[in-house]
């Protein structure tokens, strides 16, 4: 890649969301905003090789995109009297500030994640407008056909227009209700990237990196929201294990078996600092608690050194905040580590009796593991078989088959 291409790629990454957010704010037209941002990038690739990379590449792109928008609106306005175009044009002319008001990206992300939009539309629109992924890239990331993804984007933008979803950050009294949706979309993106990264198709966009990038932007734009910092810390802790999660054969390596020398300590340190600052605000929430749990693992130098009683206590806190079956299952696993497998098994069996998670392979897998540790190998084998039936990926199946074989050997 040439120096110019590298510069454009870097700037694109950093500036795309900002440019699109600003243009939507000025023109009210999402498609126009994207197209003008795209044109500005194309123009940069044409001009910079000859003219050199500008000193402030972001400002160059923003100005170019804005000029493009103004020209297009001018042409459209000569066809018919369109008041909105005229108003937008005067804003484009007057507005001198090239850096873009920081709140524009906040407006954009809250609008993309508005509860009135269908969930998969929120995810797609966030990736398209804030991260600048193409429709093809987003489709590839979620393994759906491109026309399907294109339709989701069209539908979401149409709903914003036709149902009158305003381009605004929600008022303060609504932020507690609306912020979780934004955090949820970012975390979903991270998990899509994280879970898919084992045996990853390296031609798929790195959703983990995109999610962390969005998490950084959000944490910077919402300094008074500790959950934003909590989410970023959580993603950093998980991402720090990226190279240790997989073995040479592409199989999953369990947390306790990972080579901790391969964990990125710089990333962990950043996560710890973020989390500490967030917790000091004294307003705990689910992302901060999950990050605290992840921090316990990340800062334990060996698996044996893990502070399981602390983790179990944190899970008690998490269950209070988010009492879903998955969280309760994770707590059971932590309790088993802190207080012994029998204590954990009691919680797992309570969960099974409640009828929850009947198609989630990790429930019978957890049960099997606890039975194994109690020396009940026949029962363990039965549960591993049940888990195998529910497993969804080859990596999961290989892991469970190994465990099953071991259990049978021990009967």
């Amino acid at each position: 890649m040439s120096e110019v291409e590298a510069a454009v790629t870097t700037v694109y990454r950093e500036e795309w969301g900002r440019i699109v957010a600003t243009l939507i704010g000025l023109t009210g037209d999402w498609d126009l905003a994207e197209e003008c941002a795209q044109d500005a990038v194309a123009r940069a690739l044409e001009r910079w090789p000859g003219d050199g990379v500008p000193r402030n590449p972001g400002a160059w792109l923003t100005t170019t995109a804005r000029n493009q928008a103004r020209n297009r609106l001018r042409r459209a306005a000569t066809e018919a009297s369109k008041l909105q175009e005229a108003a937008a044009m005067s804003q484009l002319d007057d507005s001198v500030d090239d850096s873009g008001v920081p709140e524009d990206r906040l407006r954009l992300i809250f609008t993309c994640c508005h509860p009135a939009l269908p969930f998969d539309g929120r995810v797609a629109l966030t990736l398209r407008t804030l991260a600048g992924l193409t429709t093809a890239e987003i489709a590839h990331a979620f393994l759906v056909p491109e026309p399907t993804m294109a339709q989701r984007l069209v539908r979401a933008k149409r709903k914003i227009r036709q149902a009158g979803i305003p381009y605004r950050v929600p008022p303060a009294h609504l932020l507690p209700q609306r912020t979780p949706a934004v955090l949820g979309v970012i975390y979903l993106l991270f998990n899509e990237g994280y879970c898919a990264s084992v045996g990853a198709d390296h031609t798929r966009p790195d959703l983990c990196a995109e999610a962390i990038h969005l998490g950084r932007v959000l944490a910077r734009l919402m300094p008074d929201e500790p959950e934003a910092a909590g989410l970023l810390a959580l993603m950093l802790f998980q991402d720090s294990r990226r190279t240790a999660r997989q073995d040479g054969a592409g199989d999953l390596v369990a947390l306790e078996d990972q080579d901790r020398d391969r964990w990125d300590r710089t990333v962990i340190a950043e996560g710890v600092e973020l989390l500490d600052a967030a917790l000091r605000r004294g307003s705990p929430g689910p992302y901060q608690v999950q990050a605290a749990i992840a921090a316990c693992h990340a800062t334990a130098l060996t698996a044996a050194a893990t502070d399981w009683p602390q983790i179990a206590a944190l899970y008690d806190e998490l269950v209070r905040l988010v009492s879903t079956p998955v969280v309760r299952l994770n707590r059971a696993v932590a309790v088993a580590m802190a207080d012994g497998p029998a204590a954990g098994l009691e919680l797992v069996e309570e969960l099974e009796r409640s009828g929850a998670l009947t198609s989630y392979h990790l429930l019978p897998a957890a049960r099997a593991d606890l039975l194994r540790r109690l020396g009940r190998h026949r029962d363990a084998a039965r549960s591993y078989r049940r888990a195998l039936d529910l497993a969804r990926t080859d990596a999961e199946r290989r892991y469970l088959t190994n465990r099953l074989t071991e259990a049978i050997r021990n009967i």
């Binding site: 009135a116 036709q162 149902a163 009158g164 979803i165 305003p166 605004r168 929600p170």
Partner: protein, 116 residues
């Protein structure tokens, strides 16, 4: 922007017990909401509807007028009433609708009108 609100709930638990009457008993909370929305200029008009067993469905197919009894579709909740709202944007409508008493136990659909 104009929106139609469809106020929905399980009619057997709400309206049906009063279906033999000429007027349902007044609900002070709903009247309060209506008064407030009228005063703010948000609500243009609206009304409560008789239950769905007074509904008649009409279709004309191949020149024949087909009249039948009952609502056009069976649903878990039924439309109890409607309101025509004019608001700045969807957020204003959401704020107004979340104060409606039926929102606490029923469902309110918000549908934008095609522009005139």
């Amino acid at each position: 922007m104009k929106y139609l609100l469809l106020i929905c709930a399980v009619e057997s638990e709400t309206v049906v017990p009063f279906q033999h009457l000429d007027h349902p008993p007044p609900d002070p909370e709903t009247e309060e909401w209506v008064k407030e929305m009228d005063a703010r200029g948000l609500r243009k008009f609206g009304h409560a509807l008789r239950p769905t067993d007074t509904a008649t469905t009409i279709r004309v197919r191949e020149g024949e007028t087909l009249v039948s009894d009952g609502p056009f579709t069976e649903t878990k909740e039924q439309i109890l009433g409607f309101d025509l709202i004019e608001a700045e944007d969807l957020e204003e409508v959401i704020a107004a609708v979340s104060a409606h008493p039926v929102a606490r136990f029923g469902t309110i659909e918000v549908r934008p009108l095609w522009p005139s």
